[in-house]
């Protein structure tokens, strides 16, 4: 079976991801697309460099998909994340969720992106006009200590 969660250095195709969750049982397909923003709090980004611990990151994405299935048993999920150098407006992540009814698709999609930002080992380095910096926003996690739910 094809992987439903993957990391790639190739450009992401919206159509390719979303069509994989479209099916007869679904009346709603929610697609979240995360793109590279030019300005953050007035500061101009030139481009982003994404890096990953690929083996673990794909496992964690798959874990998130499983969590979503537990919470929304009728959901079908596909998640793709791009790494490497991304230019402004490039797509960094696509989350596609299909469910019989729309409310579940919105909720499940939101759940996926919030979890990605907490537990998936992917990092981005901002390159600005006047410097660069690795960004990390794991605010919910006590430094150095994984949450109980993160540890298997």
């Amino acid at each position: 079976m094809e992987k439903r969660c993957w990391i790639t250095s190739e450009p992401l195709e919206i159509e390719e991801v979303t069509k994989r969750v479209i099916r007869r049982e679904a009346g709603a397909v929610n697609t979240f697309i995360g793109t590279v923003r030019e300005f953050t709090k007035g500061k101009r980004t030139l481009y982003l460099q994404y890096e990953t611990y690929k083996e673990m990151a794909e496992k964690k994405l798959e874990q998130i998909a499983k969590e979503m299935e537990r919470q929304w048993p009728s959901a079908e999920v596909v998640i793709a994340h791009r790494i490497g150098r991304l230019e402004i407006t490039d797509i960094a992540v696509i989350i596609a969720v299909s469910t019989p009814h729309r409310n579940d698709s919105y909720e499940a999609s939101r759940y996926a992106i919030e979890r990605i930002k907490k537990i998936v080992p992917i990092w981005k380095k901002e390159h600005w006009e006047d410097g660069e910096e690795w960004i990390g926003d794991q605010k919910e996690v006590k430094p150095g200590v994984p949450l109980k739910e993160e540890v298997k």
């Binding site: 995360g34 994404y50 890096e51 990953t52 611990y53 083996e55 673990m56 990151a57 496992k59 994340h81 960094a92 992540v93 992106i113 990605i116 930002k117 907490k118 537990i119 998936v120 080992p121 992917i122 990092w123 981005k124 380095k125 690795w134 960004i135 990390g136 926003d137 794991q138 996690v141 430094p143 150095g144 200590v145 994984p146 993160e150 540890v151 298997k152």
Partner: protein, 77 residues
């Protein structure tokens, strides 16, 4: 032997993405402290730790062949 993996800012600070260390019998917390003191890097304290591609608590005992990863605050999406 064990492999230690570093990523993102930590990799740049240490200057390599991989270090070999005989860590069997040590706890994850001890490995972390060893790296912190050896490289004088307090940013190690902000890392989550993973063993064999799963997050693990610091009292985990390392066994021969385990791969230990230092996971700085993530920023995907």
């Amino acid at each position: 032997m064990n492999t230690l993996l570093f990523f993102a800012g930590l990799k740049e600070a240490i200057g390599t993405d991989e270090v070999r260390l005989a860590a069997a019998g040590m706890t994850l917390g001890e490995v972390k402290e060893k790296v912190r003191s050896e490289y004088s890097l307090d940013q190690v304290n902000n890392c989550m730790m993973a063993v064999n591609e799963e997050f693990a608590p610091e009292d985990t005992t390392i066994t021969e062949g385990d791969t230990i990863a230092f996971i700085p605050p993530v920023s995907g999406g």
